[in-house]
């Protein structure tokens, strides 16, 4: 009975111990954190195997009359699957980090952050009500902030961390508003109760659409959907294992998970679904386009993550939440693999991240092979997991909206193209720098997770695997969608490989894509001309209007006093004159008036 609690709270305990006491004792902290995640994994396996508990697991957090915010756990297929994904990938990444962060002087802090993240992420997974969801939603934001800004003493990571947190806050603004709207309509926060009382919301389509879109704002931020996608590439300033765990496999997928969790709510508003679908599609296409012109290995993967998240959101928008979850799971594995692989590459090349300064890395066998598996899965090469999950989304799209379907295919093509580019540039050709030349294979503790992740990346698409965890969408037998998908993937891969084979410079230079459609610049301008200007204007008003008004009032008072003083000019007769004036005035006032 206590197992789910153990899953949830062991990482918290670890984070608390590290945060409060052992932060400075690096190896001890590391040990605690790794132990915690392993315990959590073990317990989650236990939870997975055990039958769903009959009594709901819940502890009250706030309880005021009818208003209840409990910390309550949902244990169903969805959460179990997600839990396993989180704990298993989490465990692997903890292990990987042991080596990757070996000499970091903030190691204790790092592992504390990881533990905190595990706790927060699992909280989202288990949440059975909106308030709790929101609580952990915020907490993953903070752990993400902490881990992105891990190297706080440099200038870029803190900036990226701030950007991530604030962008997320923007999404959370809508999320909270959505929660409030739903609560106002249904008077409950718990998913089950909301579902029971959904009629109140359904009756008012406008309100329903608004509420759903507001809630979707949460996804917009957390899953970095257009137009709030800008933070994710910058988040790559964090250590690579963090990118793998948080910014590829789990946290960014939380948005999709949340949509799946409250799908009963989402689906009441077709209009909102349309919006969600289009947002997903746009994100998928734009991100894929941007990915084609990036040079930083992690950024390419980041844009690819964006693109894939767009896929999932699109799937939700297509009302294919199972497909979305399916893709989420497979993507979690292969993207984590890819990130860890890129980490291995970076590690091998002495923290070099520019793909044009690598090359010829096929001499590192473990990295090369696992990366290849990940790449294939991402491209959607048949027999690899990504193919199946992507396929189920494409099928959903083809059935509903041909434009979206076309764009999705185009994205698949682009995905294959940029992954081929990446793969070819990094692993083939000659080593283009000294670092790449002296690259050496990663230690076993890093290789282990790579291998362990490569397995599910390969097999996760197969029914025998995934069906244990998730309801998979029925495979349409007579569809020719898979043909299109395979064609797009192969075409993309082939073009990419051909263009980039043996190149030492990028033969294609599309500034517009390289600069990510100038989103960052546009946003900078937008912020400068809205928020900053408003802020400065307000500060001006505060100082020169309100502040001045106060000061002028005070000054006037003083001035009047200063002036009055001059009545007191010392001359007796002057006083007598004012005396007389006073007398006359008094009589006027008293008698004549």
């Amino acid at each position: 009975m206590a197992l789910p609690w153990i899953v949830l709270f062991t990482p918290l305990l670890s984070a608390a111990i590290i945060g409060a006491f052992t932060k400075r004792y690096h190896n001890l902290s590391m040990g605690i954190s790794v132990l915690a995640v392993i315990v959590s994994l073990a317990a989650s396996i236990g939870v997975f195997l055990a039958p769903a508990p009959e009594t709901p697991l819940s502890i009250p957090w706030i309880s005021l009359g009818d208003f209840q915010i409990p910390i309550g756990l949902t244990i169903d297929g969805l959460s179990k699957a997600m839990m396993l994904v989180v704990t298993s990938i989490g465990t692997l990444i903890h292990l990987y980090s042991v080596a990757y962060m070996k000499d970091d002087d903030g190691k204790g802090r790092y592992f504390g952050g990881l533990s905190l993240f595990m706790f927060s992420m699992l909280g989202i997974v288990f949440a059975n009500n909106f308030a709790m969801m929101f609580i952990f939603w915020e907490l993953v934001g903070v752990s993400s902030f902490l881990l992105i800004g891990h190297w706080y003493n440099k200038s870029a990571p803190p900036a990226a961390a701030n950007k991530a947190f604030i962008t997320n806050r923007l999404g959370d603004f809508g999320f909270m508003l959505g929660i409030l709207l739903v609560w106002q309509a249904t008077k409950s926060l718990e998913f089950g109760a909301i579902q029971a009382g959904i009629g109140a919301l359904e009756a008012n389509p406008a309100l329903a659409a608004l509420a759903v879109l507001c809630i979707f704002c949460g996804t917009l931020g957390k899953s970095a959907q257009f137009p709030l996608h800008v933070w994710l590439p910058d988040a790559m300033e964090g250590p690579t294992p963090v990118s793998a765990l948080i910014h590829a496999a789990t946290m960014v997928a939380a948005g999709v998970y949340m949509l799946a969790r409250v799908f009963f709510l989402i689906q009441i508003s077709p209009c909102a679904l349309q919006v969600i679908m289009w947002i997903g599609t746009i994100t998928a296409v734009l991100a894929a386009l941007m990915a084609t012109q990036q040079n930083d290995i992690k950024r390419i993967l980041a844009y690819s993550t964006l693109s894939q998240l767009g896929y999932m959101v699109m799937a939700v928008g297509l009302a294919a939440k199972d497909a979305a979850m399916f893709h989420l799971v497979t993507h979690a594995f292969f993207k984590a693999l890819l990130f860890l692989g890129s980490g291995a590459v970076i590690y091998a090349c002495h923290h070099e991240q520019n793909i044009w300064k690598m090359g010829g890395l096929k001499k590192l066998p473990v990295t090369f092979i696992t990366f290849l598996i990940g790449t294939a899965a991402l491209m959607g090469i048949p027999f690899f997991s990504g193919f199946y999950s992507k396929d189920s989304i494409l099928i959903a799209a083809s059935g509903q909206n041909q434009i979206v379907f076309g764009l999705a295919l185009f994205t698949a093509f682009l995905t294959a193209f940029y992954m081929a580019r990446l793969f070819v540039v990094v692993f083939f050709g000659k080593a283009r720098t000294e670092n790449a030349d002296h690259a050496h294979e990663v230690p076993p503790i890093m290789a282990g997770p790579l291998v362990l992740l490569a397995i599910p990346s390969f097999i996760a698409g197969y029914g025998f695997f995934i069906d244990r965890f998730l309801p998979t969408p029925a495979h349409a037998e007579h569809s020719n969608v898979p043909m299109f998908a395979i064609a797009a993937a192969l075409l993309g891969a082939a073009i990419g490989a051909v263009i980039y084979w043996g190149k030492s410079r990028d033969p294609i230079n599309i500034r517009f894509l390289e600069n990510k459609f100038y989103f960052d610049e546009a946003y900078a301008v937008l912020i400068r001309y809205t928020q900053d200007l408003l802020a400065r204007f307000s500060a001006f008003v505060d100082r020169w209007v309100i502040g001045l008004a106060v000061r002028v009032a005070a000054g006037c008072t003083w001035g009047v006093g200063f002036t009055l003083r001059f009545l007191q000019f010392g001359n007796l007769q002057g006083y007598a004159f004012f005396f007389g004036l006073g007398v006359v005035a008094l009589f006027y006032y008293l008698i004549i008036k």
Binding site: F569, G570, Q573
Partner: protein, 105 residues
């Protein structure tokens, strides 16, 4: 026939005259004289009031009592006032109003 108002008018004019003296003269001693004029103007009114409001066929002696006290007090005031003015003159060799305005603002 003479009315009360005639007396009151005359006394009021004397009062105003005294006040004008206080306002316009710069010699402290003369100012002081003007103040005496004001007191005397009040006295005139008092006596007139007393005379015009007969009590049992006699002037209202309460008024005259007041006049008596005013005259006495005024005399005492003059004595003290002149002593102060003399002391001032000794200290500053002036009895001009304009010269005694060091305390101000």
């Amino acid at each position: 026939m003479l009315t009360l108002n005639d007396y009151l008018l005359v006394s009021g004019l004397l009062f105003a005259l005294g006040f004008a003296g206080v306002l316009f003269r710069r010699n402290l001693i003369v100012i002081f004289m003007a103040l005496e004029m004001m007191l005397n103007a009040a006295n005139l009114s008092l006596v007139a009031f007393a005379r015009f409001n007969l009590v049992d066929g006699l002037p209202n002696y309460n008024g005259q009592m007041l006049v008596f006290f005013i005259i006495t007090v005024a005399a005492a005031e003059v004595a003290v006032g002149l002593a102060i003015i003399v002391a001032l003159y000794r200290a500053r060799q002036t009895v001009h109003v304009e010269d005694i305005s060091t305390l101000k603002f």
